[in-house]
Structures are given as structure tokens and as C-alpha cells.
């Protein structure tokens, strides 16, 4: 069973639907026990880091999520959910994340040319920089759907894919059993569904 962490943030309907579409048993849950009994955990999220982090820590789900991840259960953070996996974020102040992946989250404006629009909204291609279980069904140059103004900065050893938006932005990461996708696999057509299929096999 796949548990989608429901801490009051994000469009969970599409995520749940996409796992249903690939024939996976999925539950959207706020119950820590479901995280313990699941095989895999999805951490979704849209909006602002501070607000999401506060809700996640207040929900009582952050601790069991960290415990399960430390025990080796596959965890996939999506969009803001990926950013929450990192040590901290510099989005409007400095805020702590889950610290499951060493690194931090900074504005893409720090590294992209001034004439690029922020947020990056739309389909961009993946440059696969490192093998990852998440990409078992993926191909170099696959297009995925992004919506973000911030990006993860970490050791290049954890970065599994980048995308070119005037600069190479972190598109996907893996740190052991903890995975992150800055884009939305659940909104990236068959390419995205294939990634979710791959995650169910890691």
C-alpha cells in the first residue's frame, strides 16, 4: 500500500487518481499508523514552504515519516514535498525542513538569467545525470511539468536529473531510499505515470 501524506496541503486528488490509474493500492491519510503500515510514502505539497512545514510538523506526521524513512522505507517527495525533504529553506526567511536529504532550498532567481520568468511554469525536459530507480522507465529528454520558484541545492551526488531553465536546476534527487521530484509526475502524462510505476518497484 502507498500512503499519501495528508497534512492539509496540496492537490491530493490527482495524485491519488494517478496511483489508481496504474493499479496501485493507495490511501490518502493523516494517520501515523498508515505511514507505519504502508510500503511506500508520498509527500506532496504546493504553496509556500513555511506554511507547509508548519502544517507538516503540527500534524504529528513528520516524526513517523522521518522514522519510516530512516528505517529504509521508500519515500517520494513531490514539488514542495521534495523541498521539505531538505535541511532548510530560504523562502521568505530561513525554515527547517525534514533534513532527510542534506541540502537547502533557494530561489531559482539566484542562478537563472534575469529575463527568465518566475515561477518556471510548464513542460521542460529532463537531463538524467545519475541512475535512479525512479527513472527505470524514463528516457533522456523526457518532458515533465514544472511549477516552481525555488529549487534544491545539494551535493551533486544526490542529484539524479536536472532541467535547463537558463541554468541547470535540480529536477530530481535520490539520497538512499529517499526520492524527490521537483516536477509533478502526476501531471506529466504517461512519462509521469511511468515514473510512479517505477517508484512502486524500488
Amino acid at each position: 500500500m502507498i500512503a499519501i501524506v495528508n497534512y492539509g496541503v496540496g492537490n491530493l486528488f490527482s495524485l491519488e487518481s494517478s496511483f489508481n490509474a496504474i493499479g496501485q493500492n493507495v490511501i490518502v491519510t493523516s494517520d501515523p499508523n498508515d505511514l507505519k503500515h504502508s510500503d511506500r510514502i508520498i509527500l506532496p505539497g504546493v504553496g509556500a514552504f513555511e506554511d507547509a512545514a508548519r502544517k507538516l510538523f503540527a500534524s504529528g506526521l513528520a516524526e513517523p515519516l522521518i522514522d519510516e524513512a530512516r528505517k529504509g522505507k521508500p519515500v517520494l517527495g513531490i514539488c514542495l514535498g521534495m523541498q521539505l525533504l531538505f535541511t532548510k529553506s530560504y523562502e521568505f526567511g530561513v525554515h527547517d525542513g525534514l533534513n532527510l536529504i542534506p541540502g537547502d532550498v533557494r530561489p531559482i532567481s539566484d542562478i537563472i538569467p534575469a529575463d527568465f520568468k518566475i515561477p518556471q511554469i510548464g513542460w521542460n525536459s529532463l537531463h538524467l545525470t545519475k541512475p535512479s530507480g525512479l527513472f527505470a522507465n524514463s528516457h533522456e529528454g523526457d518532458y515533465v511539468y514544472f511549477v516552481h520558484s525555488y529549487s534544491a541545492f545539494c551535493d551533486s551526488g544526490y542529484i539524479t536529473a536536472i532541467t535547463d531553465y537558463g541554468a541547470g536546476l535540480t529536477a530530481a534527487v535520490q539520497f538512499g531510499n529517499v526520492y524527490g521530484a521537483q516536477f509533478h509526475p502526476e501531471k506529466s502524462g504517461n512519462v509521469g505515470l511511468n515514473m510512479l510505476r517505477a517508484f512502486c518497484e524500488v
Binding site: 492537490n11 486528488f13 490527482s14 487518481s17 494517478s18 489508481n20 490509474a21 504546493v46 504553496g47 509556500a48 520568468k117 518566475i118 515561477p119 518556471q120 511554469i121 510548464g122 513542460w123 521542460n124 525536459s125 518532458y143 511539468y145 514544472f146 511549477v147 516552481h148 535547463d164 531553465y165 509533478h184 502526476e186 501531471k187 506529466s188 502524462g189 504517461n190 509521469g192 505515470l193
Partner: protein
């Protein structure tokens, strides 16, 4: 490289797509669910569902249809029509919409965009503006393009973006339905003043119109159209292959 997006728009009334639809191979061409799947499988980068029902019964049917579509289609879905408060945002977001476009609601209630952006994030809030030239000035029109608000459009769109809108759909009433091309002058005026993505709407009659749109106004991120796609006058994959040949970044 980020691609230019091609977006079919489906006007939905009482659970059915209106404006003629003419496709071979679909069992029910007026079913939003079937048409959305068809477009998703045939190269659309995103879909816009526009609710043109007036009644609350119609609205209920619309959200049911939206939920059914979102269950089956895995590309971004934007919903517009009848969005007048944050409760409308909640209603459509909970049914699987990714973005919500506001038009008359933002004119009537100046707090709508900032409130919604705070609650759901700017990426979720699209300002959709119906704009027409009046005495040499661009004016914002309300109620489906029927009422001239007298508001100067370019400044108004910029204020909406400053207030939290994360994307702009610019629909030129002057070119809408004429099928002689997008309103490049109006689009350029908007692209010059906003830093968020701009979606061109109104006037597409041929593949050439899209090519000239993206070549002439590089600031435009996406082209939106309805009837030329629904009638099969332009097949999205033909359009996208032509864009590729013209060196316009495109997802094939």
C-alpha cells in the same frame, strides 16, 4: 528548454462540451471526459475547462464532470467560469483542478486574487482578461465580454499579477472568432509589463497563426484555442511538428 504550450479550451454547459466538436473515433464527442482524454493522448500540454452554466444545478454537474476528468487525465487542468470567491476555488480544486482562472470575479472583488494566492499559492491563480479596444485604449470587459468596465486593461492586468496572479490568459475580444490570427499588439503590450507566463487567446485560425504568435511575441508562453481544435481544422500534433520545424521549443 521550457516549451511553448498548446492548450485546448473546452466550454462546458450542463456537463457537455458546447461549440461544435467534430472528431472521428470518439464515441461521444460532446463528453468532456472523452474529449479531454483525446486531447491529452494527442499532444495537448494542458486543458482549460470553462464552466458556462448559470445555475447551481449546472455547477454541480460541472464539478462531477471535472472530478471524472481529473480521475482519467494526467496533464494540468485549469478551470474557469463562475469563480467569484475562495469557496469556488475550494470547490474546483477539491475536484482535481490545478489552476483556477478568475475573470469577472476579480473585477467585482479586488480581494479575490490576493486571498486565493495566499491560500493556494500564486501558481494556482490565473487572471483571465477579456480585452477590447475602445477609443484607442485597451479596456477590460466583464460578463463574458458583454460589459465594458472602462478599466484600462494593461495596468489592470499588471495590478492583478502584483496582487498574486501567477499566470495571465489574455483573450482579445477584437480578434476572437475572426480566425485571422492572435492579437499580437495587445499581447506584446501585456508581455512588456508582466513577468509571469502569458497565454494568448482569441483569433487562432491556422497553424501559421501560432507560428507567427510565438515568433513575433517571444514573451508569450502558450496558445489557447477552442473551435479550430474541436472541429479538427488544426490537429495539435501537426501544429507541434510544424513548431518543431520552425525551431520553436515544443514537447513532442
Amino acid at each position: 528548454m521550457i516549451t511553448k504550450r498548446i492548450i485546448p479550451c473546452l466550454d462546458v454547459r450542463n456537463g457537455r462540451v458546447v461549440k461544435g466538436v467534430n472528431f472521428q473515433g470518439l464515441n461521444d464527442v460532446n463528453s468532456p471526459v472523452e474529449l479531454a482524454k483525446y486531447y491529452s493522448d494527442n499532444g495537448a500540454d494542458e486543458l482549460v475547462f470553462y464552466d458556462i452554466t448559470a445555475s447551481s444545478d449546472g455547477r454541480k454537474i460541472f464539478t462531477d464532470i471535472l472530478r471524472e476528468t481529473a480521475r482519467n487525465v494526467f496533464i494540468p487542468l485549469t478551470v474557469g467560469g463562475g469563480i467569484s470567491g475562495v469557496s469556488d476555488f475550494e470547490r474546483v480544486l477539491s475536484c482535481g483542478a490545478d489552476k483556477v482562472s478568475v475573470n469577472t470575479g476579480a473585477i467585482m472583488n479586488p480581494n479575490l486574487i490576493p486571498e486565493a494566492a495566499k491560500l493556494y499559492g500564486s501558481q494556482c491563480v490565473v487572471i483571465s482578461a477579456d480585452v477590447k479596444r475602445v477609443d484607442g485604449q485597451f479596456h477590460v470587459f466583464a460578463r463574458g465580454g458583454r460589459d465594458d468596465t472602462g478599466i484600462e486593461a494593461i495596468g489592470w492586468i499588471r495590478r492583478c499579477v502584483d496582487a498574486g496572479a501567477g499566470e495571465v490568459v489574455l483573450n482579445s475580444i477584437d480578434t476572437d472568432g475572426v480566425k485571422q490570427g492572435f492579437d499580437l499588439e495587445m499581447l506584446k503590450a501585456v508581455c512588456d509589463v508582466v513577468s509571469v507566463p502569458v497565454i494568448a487567446s482569441g483569433g487562432a485560425g491556422s497553424i501559421d497563426d501560432f507560428i507567427s504568435l510565438f515568433k513575433t511575441v517571444p514573451g508569450v508562453d502558450a496558445g489557447l484555442a477552442a473551435s479550430i481544435f474541436h472541429f479538427g481544422e488544426v490537429a495539435i500534433m501537426d501544429l507541434k511538428h510544424r513548431m518543431y520545424d520552425e525551431n520553436i521549443p515544443v514537447r513532442l
